[in-house]
Symmetry: C2
Subunit: 358 residues, 2 copies
C-alpha cells in the first residue's frame, strides 16, 4: 500500500518541504525525525517516516554539506600505476576504505597527482573548497613530508604508515617486524638454519623493520651467527631481486631458505634460483611479502597484510577526528597510532613440499 511514488520525472527532487506538506508537519520536524528522532513525538515520527518512504525522500547532499560545513567526503589520492610493481594492495585498500566509509555515509573522493607537490596542491584545493572533510594517506614512511604539510593546512587525516615523527600524526601500520619474524619462525620450524634476507636498502622505516624482523627472529632461535652475511639489499624490482638472489646463491655456503621483503623481490629470487637449477620449494624455500596475486599464481608463500582491517581502522580514526561527527569530546583525540598484525600464507615455495636441507 505504501508504494514509492517518486519516479515521476528524472529531475524531480523530493525535498524536506514536500515531505512536510505530505505529512502535515513543518520542515524542521521532518529534519528532526531524521537527525534527532528523540525530539519528536512517537506518533508524529511514524507519520513522517511513512511520508518519507512514500515519497522516496533522500536528503540532498549539497544542501546538507553547505549548511553543516561538512561534505561527508574523504579525499584519497591514487598514485600513478607502476606496471612493475605487483601491488594489488592498492585495490584491496581502496575497497576497504570505500566499504568502511559507506557505513558512515561517507564516500571516497578520488584524485590524482603526479608528485608530492601536486598532491599537496590538490589537497589544499579540495580542502579549501569544502570538497572533502579530510584525507587518507597511503604509503607514508620515514621522511615523508605530507603529514606535516596536511597538519599545516589544518586538514584532518589518517595515514597508512608512519613517519619518524609518528607521535605527531594519526596512523595505522602493519607490524612489518612481526610479519618477517613469523616467516622466519615458519622456516626454522621446517628445519632451515641458514635463512637469507633480501630487502631494501637501509633508511626506510618499513624496510628497516622488515630487516629487523629477520634479525630478531634469528636471534631468538640462536641462528644469528650462522646467518651472518646472508643479508642482501636492493631496490624493489624483479631484476634487482634476481641480482640479490644470485648473490645469495653464489655464496660458499648458500642459504637453504630466503625471506624477501616483497613479492617483487621474491619473484626475482625465484628467477635466480631457476638459473641456478634449483627448484623453489624443493631446493630452496622462499617467502615473500604482500601476498600479491602473482604470489598466488606462482605458489609463493607470502606475508599477507591485513589491509581490510587497516582500511577500516583508518576510516574509523579519521571520522573520529572530523569536527561535527562526534560532539561529545570538545578536545579532538590526540595523535594516535595503531599496529596491526599480518599473517603468513604458506604455499608450495616454503612448505607444501618438504625442502631438501643440506
Amino acid at each position: 500500500m505504501s508504494q514509492d511514488l517518486s519516479q515521476e520525472r528524472g529531475s524531480s527532487q523530493v525535498t524536506l518541504d514536500d515531505v512536510a506538506g505530505f505529512a502535515g508537519v513543518s520542515r524542521q520536524t521532518v529534519s528532526n525525525v531524521i537527525n534527532a528522532p528523540e525530539r519528536v513525538r512517537e506518533q508524529t515520527r511514524q507519520r513522517v517516516e511513512q511520508a518519507i518512504i512514500q515519497l522516496g525522500y533522500q536528503p540532498n547532499r549539497a544542501a546538507r554539506a553547505l549548511r553543516a560545513q561538512a561534505s561527508r567526503m574523504i579525499g584519497y589520492r591514487i598514485e600513478p600505476v607502476h606496471e612493475q610493481s605487483l601491488a594489488s594492495i592498492h585495490d584491496r585498500f581502496l575497497h576497504a576504505l570505500a566499504d568502511a566509509g559507506r557505513e558512515a555515509d561517507h564516500y571516497l573522493l578520488l584524485f590524482t597527482a603526479d608528485d608530492p607537490d601536486a598532491e599537496l596542491a590538490a589537497c589544499t584545493q579540495l580542502f579549501r573548497t569544502g570538497g572533502v572533510d579530510g584525507f587518507v594517506l597511503y604509503g607514508i614512511d620515514h621522511g615523508d613530508h605530507r603529514p606535516a604539510a596536511l597538519r599545516g593546512l589544518g586538514a584532518p587525516f589518517a595515514a597508512f604508515g608512519r613517519t619518524d615523527h609518528d607521535t605527531e600524526h594519526c596512523w595505522v601500520d602493519v607490524d612489518n617486524l612481526a610479519g618477517v619474524s613469523d616467516a622466519v619462525d615458519h622456516l626454522v620450524e621446517r628445519g632451515h638454519r641458514r635463512i637469507g634476507f633480501a630487502g631494501w636498502p637501509e633508511g626506510s622505516g618499513v624496510g628497516d623493520r622488515r630487516a629487523e624482523g629477520w634479525r630478531t627472529a634469528l636471534a631468538r632461535h640462536g641462528l644469528l651467527a650462522e646467518c651472518h652475511g646472508l643479508d642482501v639489499r636492493g631496490t624493489d624490482s624483479i631484476e634487482e631481486g634476481a641480482r640479490l638472489g644470485r648473490r645469495l646463491l653464489d655464496l660458499d655456503k648458500p642459504p637453504s631458505a630466503v625471506v624477501a621483503a616483497t613479492d617483487t623481490l621474491a619473484v626475482g629470487v625465484m628467477q635466480a634460483a631457476r638459473v641456478h637449477g634449483l627448484s623453489v620449494g624443493r631446493d630452496l624455500a622462499l617467502v615473500g611479502f604482500d601476498d600479491t596475486p602473482s604470489a598466488h599464481v606462482l605458489g609463493l608463500s607470502s606475508v599477507r597484510q591485513p589491509i581490510e582491517a587497516v582500511g577500516r581502522t583508518i576510516v574509523e580514526m579519521l571520522l573520529e577526528r572530523l569536527p561535527g561527527t562526534l560532539r561529545q569530546t570538545d578536545t579532538p583525540p590526540g595523535p594516535v597510532g595503531r599496529l596491526l598484525a599480518p599473517t603468513l600464507v604458506v604455499r608450495d615455495s616454503s612448505g607444501a613440499t618438504v625442502p631438501h636441507v643440506p
Copy 2:
C-alpha cells in the same frame, strides 16, 4: 607583493562576499569574473582577479552544487577484489578516469556494492541525493541489466563495454576482435600454422568477439581448416586455463602456438606446457590478453587494451551528456559508441626467441 593572505585559521572560509568587499565590487561581479568573464569590464576583471589571488579564494563546492543542481561528481563502483584474477586494468582505468575528470573539475566518487542489485540501489541513492551527476560503468557485456536500469533512473552514464542493445546507451569498447586478430597475425608471421585458441564459453559479447578475431584472422590466412578443433573454452581461471592447455597439448597434432582470451587463461596454459615438458617461447608460442603485471613478470606476450584512452573517452562522453555542462545543444546527443584499437605487446613467450615449429 600580492601574497596569499589566506592562511589565518584552518576554519576560515573565504567567500565571494569577502572578495567582493576587498575588490570594491558586488558579489555577482566576482561570480561573473569566474563564470562569465566577458560580461565584466577588463579593468574591473583584473582588479577582481587580483583580489581572488590575494585572498586565496576558492569557490565552495557545496554551495555551487546546491545552486547549480550539479555536484560535479562522477559515481564509480569498484568491484570486490578477485584474488584470482590478475587484472590491473582496474587500476589503470580508475587512474585514467580520475585524471580525465580532474581536467574538467569533476571528481570520482567511489562506492562499493556486493552485487548488481546493491549497485543499483547505491546508484539510485547517490543520484537522488545529488551526490553524483552521472556514472561510469565498468565491464558491461551482453545481458547486463545495469544500462537499462540507469536509463530508467534517468541518470546519465557512459559504459566501458556494451550490451546486445548497444544502440540504446553510450559506450566505449576495445576492439577485441582486432586484438586477437593481431595476435594471430603476429604468430602467423613467425611461421606458425597450427594456432590454438583458449577462450570463454560462448554467450558473452567480449568472449565471442575474441574468438571471432581468431577465426577471421585464420580465415584471412587460409588456415581455418588446418586449425579445426583447436578452439577450446572454459571459465576464466588459472586452473581452467591449465585444463584447456592440456586438452590442446594432448591432441594428436597439437598446436605450435596458442592465443588465450585472457592472461589468466594464458598462465594456466603455461602451467600445462611446463607439465608437458614444453618450454613456452621455444616449444610453444603463447599470447595472452590484458597485459597484466603478471604477463610482464612471466614474459608473456599479451594484447594490451588502451585503457587510458578508454577512460578519457568515457569521461568526455559522459560530461557531454551532463545537463548544464554544455548548453548549446538543447537535445542531448543521442546514444553513441566508440571502438578503440588495442596493441600487441611482444615478449619472450611468442617472439623474442625463434620458436621451434614442428
